[in-house]
């Protein structure tokens, strides 16, 4: 690969079939660009997905791709990663795919720390099945299956991931090129499961559900982009900051110009602060919220395998068992 590939080289010949205006388009572009920027080898990259709008993703990326069955992409990707740990394996999933039908596989991929980059497109709705409420839908979401409003308490992808023992949790907004580019690069470089929640706007069934914090005009005041080792600042001219309130054990907004020393410095290895950041309503935390590097599952698997999956002996060495005897013709 002498010529550096561009984002365009990661596009396939297939017609992209998401609804016009869908947030998925922006994510696809961001991922294609991230692959090019990272110098990814298309032949050594695989996208695995389940079922749902998001899961069409592999058809549009010029790498290896496997569009599987509902909720099972993490399990299939785990098998693939064990078979070929050198592959760059991405899992693309939605809130229904990964947190409803596939919650179990997501849980176990996270706790094992399988070397997968997992992109959760969260639009808080079921798109492909025509707009029913999802496990991340807010209480009261009206939908064809909940005409009077949903009653289920939603799950927080970030808190779920933390509870499963994730080693990497990040967030981005579909249309935020800069923020997405950053978290995708960091995820790509991570050994282990890099889990990214992407706020994705479904313009047909749940339009503007995230508008309260994703509107470009107000984003500076509604989003907190965290960076390891840097103060948690946001707002116009970074005039606001987050402080840890030791009485309530919570994060609170302060005027950063008045008390710059009280602004919390982001420590991405701090699980307690990560959980507080995940729960913040306003501003909403973005970027790499938690990162705690650890050996990946596949590395552990191979390290513990007596022959690192190589054939170092033959069946003939084992076939006789502990004892054998001869039968001869009378």
């Amino acid at each position: 690969m002498n010529d550096k590939l561009t984002a365009r080289d990661f596009a396939t010949s297939q017609e992209v079939r998401w609804c016009p205006g869908c947030g998925d388009y922006a994510i696809l572009k961001a991922v294609q660009k991230a692959l090019a920027d990272a110098g990814a080898d298309p032949a050594n990259t695989a996208f695995v997905s389940g079922i749902g709008c998001a899961s069409r993703f592999p058809y549009y990326v010029e790498t290896y791709g496997f569009h599987t069955i509902h909720g099972r992409a993490p399990a299939i990707a785990t098998g693939l990663k064990l078979a070929n740990p050198g592959l760059d394996v991405w899992v693309v999933t939605g809130d229904g795919d990964s947190l409803s039908i596939g919650g179990n596989h997501l849980m176990h991929a996270l706790r094992r720390n399988v070397g997968l980059k997992m992109l959760l497109f969260n639009n808080e709705i079921y798109g492909l099945t025509k707009g029913q409420y999802s496990p991340t839908s807010r209480v009261g979401t009206t939908s064809p299956s909940s005409p009077k409003g949903s009653v289920d308490t939603p799950i927080s992808p970030g808190q779920f991931a933390m509870g499963c023992g994730t080693h990497f949790f990040a967030r981005g907004v579909d249309t935020d090129k800069v923020g997405m580019s950053d978290v995708l690069q960091q995820a790509h470089a991570f050994t282990g499961t890099a889990f990214i929640e992407i706020f994705q706007n479904c313009i047909v069934y749940n339009e503007d559900v995230f508008a309260g914090f994703t509107e470009r005009k107000t984003a500076a005041n509604t989003q907190l982009h965290v960076k390891h080792g840097e103060p948690m600042l946001f707002g116009e001219n970074k005039g606001k900051g987050m402080r840890f309130n030791q009485d309530t054990w919570s994060l609170e907004v302060i005027d950063a110009t008045e008390a710059p020393d009280e602004v919390l410095i982001h420590d991405e290895g701090n699980a307690i602060v990560a959980r507080l950041l995940i729960d913040l309503n306003m501003p909403v935390a973005m970027g790499v919220i938690y990162r705690q590097p650890a050996i990946s599952f596949e590395d552990t698997f191979y390290a513990h395998h007596p022959s690192r999956m190589q054939r170092t002996r033959r069946v003939r060495d084992f076939i006789k068992g502990p004892s054998s005897w001869k039968v001869t013709k009378d």
Partner: protein, 588 residues
């Protein structure tokens, strides 16, 4: 032992003879200078074909008992070992240099190891007995385990204890408690007693090297051999379930043969990880029992659609639902052949004996790789645990397993990945990591030529036809069905499949009728219809409600006589002989 409450004498009492469904023959205790006492029970008595004096089950309460009694057992016998007593001191006292539980001494036996002393004492704790009093209850704890394993009633033994210890209410209640606790342990731990009950007469044994082998051991070796023959690594992905787990355990010992084991979070994840491994270029294998197979069904369809190889082993057990986990049955034939959404045919094979699991694992993998399809291999709980003498095969007799090459052409990688061999209809096995062949696969219908998603009506018809034709291609590959023994035409043929091989073989030999045993259930061998048409009657004994019978009727337009047994127990030779004779009487 040797207490006032020696079970040896207890069981020798006439009381037991009155139990309607209870051991008929009870022998005197075998004493030894080591002070080992023992009792022997011939469970089931004469009708079962394991004639001979060797006990089939030994309960060894300590190393000395094991040392003394082991030589009396045939290979494959069941050992229930009280591990609490296997201390260094006791081992030395018994003359063992190393622990027989760990050094391979017991490899030819089925071993159930349990901390019986400890479990027993815990179970009778509430009675406040002294340690030695409590310890005496362990005989009944072990008997409770045995009664579970051999499907015997607790009631007669309990009544016997009540009569015998009427004057000692505390000991009476403690022993009854221990009996029930042992029984409950057997159930909870899903202990089973799948003893090899039908053995080939020694006259039938061809010259060669032999060893004892269980189905799980033979299957594990066969899977590893399939990897060797195809020069691929094997990733075995499974979720523990009775009676499939012994295969997972065995394979962990074969790592150096390029075999990895992955214990997944559930049955679905197990097959999905195996599919991922196959996609990645290893031989993906998953194994389960009926309930687990049901959970895997959707993923099997994915492997069919994506045209990926996969080996799925099903150790059948009694159903429906959780059913009879430790009991054997052949009732997943429909599930294996038909149990998926859509027109989703999958080749189905079965192993007839423990040893045959070896070659069937190779055969199933060969079909999976040649035709690029998942393959289901049916075995059952009986085969999983039953040990039998096995003639060790010559590995050089097995041909290498070939895979389809990637076509060398200017076509797009997508098209090249879905270029199929005209004879086998198997596509090239293209895996991520291979340069210049990036393509997309999935569960959506795809164009028969380009491999891209296609909703075209005519294309779906062609793809459905192609998937059916692939099964026909397997039929052309597997060759003709042979007759096990007996005349090649006549008044009656007995057709079986799976672990009924032993009793059918014996019964047909004794009655002089022909025996056909199927290893290929989908597709059926191409000549089977013609073969069966040479016989006036076709008798199909099977451990289900008539599934092969229906399959033969549907596929071959024959009208077999079904003979079902669904008690969770293997057929007895006598039952089959009686049925064969009855069918013949009706005919004459």
């Amino acid at each position: 032992m040797g207490s006032q409450f020696a079970v040896s004498t207890a069981l020798a009492g006439a009381d037991f003879a009155t139990f309607p469904d209870y051991p008929a023959e009870i022998r005197a205790p075998v004493g030894t200078t080591f002070g080992v006492s023992a009792y022997q029970i011939n469970l089931g008595g004469g009708p079962i074909t394991t004639a001979g004096d060797a006990p089939e089950v030994l309960v060894a309460f300590n190393p000395a008992a094991l040392k003394v009694s082991l030589p009396m057992l045939d290979k494959g016998a069941l050992l229930i070992v009280n591990t609490d007593t296997f201390t260094d001191r006791n081992l030395a006292k018994a003359g063992y240099d190393s622990d027989p539980l760990g050094d391979g001494t017991l490899n030819d036996y089925q071993v159930v190891a349990a901390d019986i002393s400890h479990l027993n004492l815990e179970s009778v704790k509430e009675f406040g007995l002294s340690k030695s009093e409590g310890g005496r209850c362990k005989n009944f704890y072990a008997l409770g385990m045995l009664l579970w394993m051999f499907d015997r009633e607790l009631q007669p033994v309990e009544e016997w204890i009540r009569r015998r210890l009427a004057g000692q209410p505390t000991m009476r209640d403690a022993n009854i408690k221990a009996l029930h606790a042992g029984h409950a342990f057997g159930e909870t731990a899903e202990l089973s007693a799948n003893l090899s009950q039908v053995k080939l007469p020694s006259a039938d044994m061809a010259p060669g090297d032999y060893r004892g082998i269980t189905g799980a051991e033979a299957m594990a070796l066969g899977i590893a051999a399939a990897g060797e023959l195809s020069d691929r690594a094997v990733l075995f992905c499974s979720y523990p379930i009775t009676p499939a787990s012994p295969l997972l355990h065995r394979l962990t010992h074969l790592a150096e043969l390029g075999v990895g084991t992955f214990q997944a979070e559930d049955e679905i994840a197990a097959i999905c990880a195996a599919i991922g491994a196959s996609y990645g270029g290893m031989i993906g294998v998953t194994s389960s029992s009926g309930p687990g197979l049901a959970l895997k069904a959707e993923a099997m369809g994915l492997a069919v659609s994506a045209e990926l190889p996969l080996l799925i082993i099903n150790w059948q057990r009694g159903g429906p639902s959780t059913g009879l986990p430790t009991k054997t049955e052949q009732s997943d034939l429909y599930q294996a052949v038909y149990g998926r959404n859509g027109d989703t045919p999958i080749p189905v094979l079965s192993a007839s004996t423990s040893g045959e699991c070896f070659e069937m694992a190779i055969e199933a993998t060969r079909i999976a790789l040649r035709h690029m399809t998942p393959v289901i291999l049916l075995a059952d709980g009986y085969l999983s645990n039953a040990a039998e003498p096995w003639r060790i095969p010559e590995l050089s007799a097995f041909a290498a397993i070939a895979t389809n090459p990637v076509p060398d052409s200017d076509d797009s990688p997508q098209r090249r990945a879905f270029t199929r061999d005209p004879a086998s209809l198997g596509r090239a096995w293209v895996s991520p990591g291979m340069p210049g062949l990036m393509h997309r696969i999935g569960g959506l219908e795809k164009d028969i030529d380009s491999g891209h998603i296609s909703y075209d009506p005519a294309n779906h018809q062609r793809m459905t036809d192609l998937r059916a034709a692939k099964i026909d291609a397997v039929a052309a590959f597997i060759g003709d069905q042979k007759i096990e023994h007996g005349p090649d035409s006549g008044d009656l043929v007995v057709v079986g499949w799976g672990s009924t091989y032993g009793p059918i073989y014996q019964a047909t030999r004794r009655t002089g009728v022909s025996h056909i045993h199927l290893r290929h259930l989908n597709p059926l061998p191409g000549n089977l219809g013609e073969l069966l048409s040479r016989f006036d009657k076709v008798l199909v004994p099977e451990m289900n409600a008539g599934q092969l019978t229906a399959l033969l009727r549907a596929n071959l337009c024959v009208e077999p006589i079904p003979f079902s047994k669904v008690t969770g127990q293997p057929f007895l030779i006598r039952e089959l002989v009686d049925k064969i004779e009855a069918v013949r009487r009706e005919a004459s």
